[in-house]
């Protein structure tokens, strides 16, 4: 009797063990993916397709508002909440990498080096910290000059401005002909992250585009610096020629685009994906009239930025299986699958997002899609002239807010442009210590 029981029990145990072993072996790896809430449907769809190709990996999506993304991610990393792959950006890379929240891909996946030749230089620079690559691009874009072609023609001009003096001339003409009261508007709210990027893009369009030296000391707080030239141009446009809308001081990206789409703005300096949005007929009254021009200025240079997929330290510590799954994920989303940059191409076709993967400019589908709302030749040319932000440090974000606040004081007439630049440079030196 007892022996029969024993045989039954051990048989059952063996069966259970086998089932467990099979389950464990077959259990998919769970990856947690954190994003900001832009086009979640597309992200989910991409995830489904990825999971179909890689049945051993399951991806859970967590999303947060774009403006609050870093705040929530900070809490997540501080609280060590399980996160494996995440969106990141060039302007936070310094902080996230120094805090040891994300890890260099070079260390774990040497095969990532094969992708580098395909990426635009400003994108690589934006994803590199201490000489190591920290991600594969989600999208990369440049700041461009957008103009309302209709307003330009009505003012009597047939070609877009080539220098910043041209911009002033054309804007003054538009103002005098009462085509629009303030032809220019900028996103210059105190704390919007785009403010500094727009300012930098204007600096980079000039011949001496640097604001810092090689030891990361500020060089822009002198009278002869390019930054001073740009600052003076802005203050001039604000206070003297009055071609820049005073409402710029309250503008963030979305209200500026809405105003431009409604016909309130003739010239704007914006990230390129906004051109796709501006020419969407359902969204804006003036859709279809917006065109891109190379950034006015001596070199037509501009600033480029990159958002990328990063792997977290938590994922790296979870073991080889998770790391392999993470690489599969990173490669599918930011790299090639089936020989094509599938996901990146999809973003470009459907949403007009820019890309760091230069070979895509040769793709006929892409060219046709971009030309529907933009100009692919100009775009390619502009991205070759784009520079990454210089002097990125963990305190760059803090400094940029000070820079913006001081510039706004200058725009309000509370101090001179030079004083504003000197004040923020002093803050930089303080933070550097």
């Amino acid at each position: 009797m007892i022996r029969r029981y024993f045989a039954l029990a051990s048989g059952l145990m063996a069966l259970i063990l086998v089932v467990c072993a099979v389950a464990v072996a077959a259990a998919p790896v769970q990856l947690t993916f954190t994003v900001w809430s832009y086009s979640n449907d597309v992200i989910q769809d991409n995830i489904q397709k990825f999971q179909a190709r890689n049945p051993g990996v399951q991806v859970g999506l967590n999303d947060f508002a774009w403006e609050k993304f870093t705040d929530v991610m900070t809490a997540r990393f501080v609280g060590k909440t399980s996160t494996d792959v995440s969106y990141s950006s060039d302007h936070w890379l310094q902080q996230w990498a120094a805090a040891n929240w994300i890890v260099p891909l070079d260390d774990y996946f040497p095969q990532v080096a094969a992708y580098k030749p395909d990426f635009a230089p400003y994108a690589i620079e934006g994803m590199t910290y201490n000489g190591k690559l920290y991600g594969l691009p989600y999208y990369a874009d440049t700041i461009i000059f957008i103009y309302n072609e209709d307003m330009l023609k009505r003012a009597g001009f047939s070609t877009p401005p080539v220098t910043w003096d041209d911009v002033t001339k054309m804007a003054v003409a538009m103002k005098q002909k009462k085509i629009v009261e303030y032809p220019l508007m900028f996103q210059f709210q105190d704390i919007t992250p785009w403010y500094i990027e727009v300012f930098l893009s204007m600096v980079y369009s000039n011949k001496n585009p640097s604001m810092f030296d090689k030891s990361l000391n500020p060089t822009y707080d002198t009278e002869s610096s390019t930054a001073h030239k740009v600052a003076r141009w802005l203050v001039d446009g604000f206070r003297t020629t009055k071609i820049i809308n005073p409402a710029s001081l309250e503008m963030t990206e979305v209200p500026l685009v809405k105003a431009m789409g409604a016909g309130q703005v003739a010239f704007a300096v914006l990230p390129k994906y906004n051109l796709a949005d501006l020419n969407t007929t359902g969204a804006h009254a003036q859709a279809g009239k917006f065109k891109m021009a190379l950034m006015p200025g001596e070199t037509h240079g501009t600033e480029g930025f990159v958002r990328f997929y990063a792997m977290t330290k938590m994922a790296a510590d979870r073991g080889k299986e998770v790391r392999d799954a993470s690489w599969k994920f990173l490669e599918y989303f930011g790299g090639k699958s089936g020989g094509e940059f599938t996901v990146v191409k999809r973003w470009a076709l459907e949403k007009g997002l820019g890309f760091a993967q230069l070979p895509l400019y040769k793709d006929p589908q892409i060219r046709a899609a971009i030309n529907k709302w933009g100009n692919v030749t100009l775009e390619e040319q502009q991205s070759k002239l784009a520079r990454a932000k210089e002097a990125l440090t963990p305190f760059w974000g803090s400094w940029s807010l000070e820079f913006q606040k001081e510039m706004n004081k200058a725009l309000l007439g509370q101090e001179t442009p030079l004083q504003a630049l000197q004040a923020s440079a002093a803050k930089w030196k303080e933070m550097k210590k």
Partner: protein, 305 residues
């Protein structure tokens, strides 16, 4: 007919005490968890150098964070802005609440409608009301400018949120809108407690509306006024969401209050030590303020007895 404690059998008293603890402890435990831990966390973080992108060293630095904060050049301006905002917001919320309460007590269909409507701003999350008001006050397509323009009062839109003084006005406008439900309802309650005979007697003596207001109404609602002033002050001093959404602390830092700098220190500079120190300073200021209030209230009660 009250029972004296001595005539109650011991076991019954013990049962009562057990019941007391049993009913009170759940609340205390939950609240304690969410009070003790954050306070300990805040104080201990404020005494160390905690900078997130320097994770390897978080040494104990004593009061250094506090000194750095108080010596920082943002500190006096932040307090100045906070006090300016509070000194405008509190009287406005109080006086307008008082006035609205009178309107709510009138017997008319309009007043009945107003009674229902006055609760609506309370039903909106602050951050959403900030989004709506930022949209309304927008200087290129906002409805506020639109109304003035359509009425012929202005010939072109005024940049409201782009100038420091008008930005303060807009922010106050939105803030008061959100606070009006509570202040007016509190005053309605207080006004209802005043017996009509007082007014009848005063009118028989020939007193006018203003005199009745001054001699009867205002003195008798003084306790409520104190509650409203204290509560609204606390709300104004810690306000963050509304301003952050509407102005981002601008233009040029004109609406950056202390609460903004706590956020800035913690989530932009990633300096948790300084952020915690600033939060502790703010909490201590609130304690001082409440103690002052209790002092005033106690002396007032004694006076009334």
């Amino acid at each position: 007919m009250r029972l004296s404690p001595r005539s109650i059998p011991m076991s019954w008293k013990a049962r009562e005490t057990r019941y007391a603890y049993a009913t009170v402890l759940p609340v205390v435990v939950v609240v304690a968890l969410f009070t003790i831990y954050p306070v300990v966390y805040a104080v201990s973080t404020s005494l160390r150098q905690v900078v997130l992108y320097r994770p390897d060293s978080t040494p104990f630095v004593g009061l250094k964070n506090y000194v750095d904060i108080v010596r920082g050049d943002f500190f006096p301006t932040a307090w100045a802005h906070t006090l300016t905002f509070t000194l405008f917001a509190v009287p406005l919320a109080t006086v307008l609440g008082f006035g609205t309460a009178h309107l709510l007590r009138v017997r008319s269909r309009l007043a009945g409608f107003l009674n229902a409507a006055v609760l609506l701003p309370w039903a909106i999350p602050t951050v959403i009301s900030g989004v709506i008001w930022a949209w309304i006050f927008n200087s290129t397509y906002g409805a506020f400018n639109g109304v003035l323009y359509s009425l012929g009062l202005i010939s072109s839109y005024i940049p409201l949120l782009s100038r420091p003084s008008s930005a303060l006005f807009c922010v106050l406008f939105a803030h008061i809108w959100k606070e009006l439900p509570l202040t007016s309802i509190l005053y309605v309650a207080a006004l209802q407690a005043i017996p009509d005979e007082l007014y009848d007697a005063a009118r028989a003596d020939g007193a006018g509306v203003l005199a009745m207001l001054r001699r009867i109404t205002i003195p008798l609602v003084l306790p409520t006024t104190l509650i409203v002033v204290i509560y609204e002050s606390m709300v104004a001093i810690v306000t963050f969401d509304l301003l952050y959404v509407m102005t981002g602390g601008g233009p040029a830092g004109a609406t950056s209050l202390i609460s903004y700098y706590i956020y800035n220190r913690m989530f932009t500079s990633y300096n948790f030590g300084q952020g915690a120190a600033l939060a502790v300073i703010l909490a201590l200021s609130l304690i001082v303020f409440i103690l002052v209030y209790l002092r005033v209230l106690n002396s007032e009660e004694v006076y009334r007895e």
